[in-house]
Amino acid sequence: MNAAAYNQLLLAFWRQRDLDAPWGRRFLVALALLGTALGLYFLPEFTSALLAATAAVWLMSLWSAIIGSLLKQNHPHVARFVPGHLRQLREAALGSWALLSLASSVLLWAFVPRMPSFALLLLLSTATLAFVGWAARTWLLWLVVSFAPVLFFGTGLDKRLSPLWAALRELWLGQPWSVLALCLLGLGASVVLMFGNGDGVHREAYACRDRMRRASEESLSGKRAGAAALGKPGEWLARPFERVASSWLRHVIARAQPTARSVMRRAEVVLHGQQHWLRQGMGALLGLVIAVLSFALAFGLAGQGLQDNWTKGAYGMAIGLASMGFNPSFALPNMLWHSRREQALLRLLPGMPQGMALNRSVAWLQLRHALVAWGVTTAGLALLAWAAHDLALLCLAFGALPLSTGWLLRVPSRMKAPTSWTAVVPVFAFLLMAWGMYALHQKLHTPLVLLAGVSVAVSALLGAWRWRALLAAPVALPTGRLA
């Protein structure tokens, strides 16, 4: 076995990491370490179990990175024309799958109390890792995971299939090692089958994955890809969105006037692309409809009333609502960066404001959208707070407001290329501020009115300071290739 070749394959995910944006990665590692440290501090009696469980999670994350990279390396042309490459990929995947699932099973079995038998643990971890690999290859599997449990238990399939479960249980208890061996063989074969041999089906699947991978990488830097990146199912799902967006485009073109207001209304369709307020609004609406339907379905099938869950889950729902309402606004400056090539043509259009007027128009456009999104989301949060009898949920809105004015009014022409780090900074800052205000209210009994007043005052000051700097900038947009 040529160890260097396998090293090359297995370590590619690390060697090809984004060196320009290390802070996001470091932050996640720091967060994980902090979580473990806090766990160790508060639960000293579970030290070994906690360390073992953390190590098992790290191993599974490592598998996720390795299999993602191996699938990326399984390029159809390479699979077809480079002798032995496909075999090496399969061997590397199979080896790392076996090793990582075995290691995580041993860790959990040896150090975590009240675990099931080692055989069952091994079966579960190998199955989990195989599933993660297949889900990296076929994104629809994540949808199955999201909705299948609700439907499975909600429709009573678990009860109807109970004779089958009983038979399987009987079989497992009677011959655990034989069943385990059979399952491992099947799972191992499924790991091998993840890789294509360069035929037409493989080419098509790889192109689809490549499109999604690029969309995912771009989304890390704040560029929201259209649903078309998900292939044909995505295009089908996005069709109503596209129809509404086309209708809006027809509407603004039909009512085009040689006024700055009309010009900017047309320009924003391009400047904010997939983050245009109409698409944001439709996305949020769809998210809400899915959430409401899911809750209704889940609770309806489970035979529970909504009220109790509404009250108990208010905090989680508020975070979800706030993320849906506030986060897209923070991404608007990044979209200005991503539309910079189109801006070259926009700036040459008759009627497009120039210089300071363009600065003012772009800034006002973004600020207006952010404030409207803030207002609507805050109204939703207020409703949630009222229903859940917890007005402190409004701290989420108070935390978001200063970010809306401070972050959105940066000078676009001085922007650097957005990275995954710069894309998440405002989101973390918002969550941190909201959490800080919530803590101030809950622990130090700071009145909510005072927190609201501070939020508005800081936002106004930040906004005024940024507005002056923005109007003084010579160029309003990061136009061009390398600007």
Partner: protein, 295 residues
């Protein structure tokens, strides 16, 4: 049917003037270094330069999209950074990347741009769209590279600009596509007297359409002249330094590029004055030689 309105230049004001332009990227090398350039009305200029020589930067600076660290750019007599609406309506631009506005369909793209311009030739757009086989309602992201580039060209021609700036417009086109594009370009120039500047690496196309060539080298326009004149007047000479110096003095030739050879000899590309016959031992050069030597 009315005859097309000729639009030959009624002014001698240059369509574009660049004076002392210097551009460099942050922490990067100087791309344009004190560049001077002028485009006269009705001129067709092929801009030549090696990869990374700054052609795109030059064209973006010319259009006022990039602010130079030094120098001044004027389009139709106005500061390029502060063009009024009328001046902007006279400019057509085909950027190097044609994969723009990908969420739109071609029909939407044309309607979008039409809404901004006071003049729009619908008949020409429809004609070109059907002749160049572009599906009107297919998302632009699904078009081939060549189709995207053709669409970009149609968009730039649709409002009948007086200044057309094209950054490698034929890079993704097949020979038939290039021929169709060049035909449109020639018609545009002949019908309307449009000033055209385009960068390309496909030298055979330049021989078919560019009346003037500009060579970009080391951040400056090293030479600009009509193509016919260049082919007629530029010759390659080989000899010792002193022999060639006296020969050039006698002929009044302007050395363009010197390449030292062994034993004190050199090869010099020189331009002879108009009407001066080239010595019989001077070598004729073709466009490829000129590109190689001057960029």
């Amino acid at each position: 049917m009315t005859a097309p309105t000729p639009h030959f230049p009624h002014t001698e004001t240059p369509s574009a003037t660049l004076s002392g332009i210097s551009v460099s990227y942050p922490n990067g090398p100087i791309v344009l270094n004190g560049l001077d350039w002028a485009l006269l009305p009705g001129q067709v200029v092929g801009l030549l330069g090696r990869n990374g020589s700054g052609k795109t930067t030059l064209l973006e600076t010319l259009l006022g999209l990039r602010e130079p660290q030094a120098g001044r750019v004027e389009l139709f007599g106005q500061d390029a950074a502060r063009l009024d609406d009328a001046a902007r309506a006279r400019i057509g631009y085909v950027p190097q990347q044609s994969d723009l506005f990908e969420a739109f369909t071609p029909a939407q793209l044309m309607a979008y741009f039409k809404s901004f311009y006071p003049r729009w030739n619908d008949a020409r757009v429809e004609g070109l769209m059907s002749r160049w086989d572009i599906a009107r309602d297919k998302p632009i992201r699904k078009l081939s590279g060549g189709q995207k580039q053709r669409l970009s060209i149609i968009r730039a021609l649709a409002h009948e600009p007086d200044l057309l700036v094209l950054d490698e417009p034929v890079a993704s086109l097949d020979p038939v596509g290039r021929r169709d594009f060049l035909r449109e370009l020639v018609e545009q120039v002949l019908d309307r007297g449009t000033t055209v500047v385009f960068s390309t690496h496909i030298l055979s196309d330049l021989e078919r359409v560019a009346f003037n060539l500009a060579f970009l080298s080391e951040g400056r326009i090293a030479l600009q002249a009509p193509l016919d004149e260049l082919l007629e007047q530029v010759r390659a000479f080989t000899g010792t330094v002193t022999e060639l110096a006296s020969l050039f003095a006698r002929l009044g030739a302007q050395p363009l590029k010197r390449t030292p050879l062994e034993a004190g000899r050199e090869r010099v590309l020189a331009r002879l004055p108009a009407g001066v016959a080239a010595p019989h031992d001077a070598q004729a050069v073709n466009l490829e030689d000129l590109f190689t030597e001057l960029t």
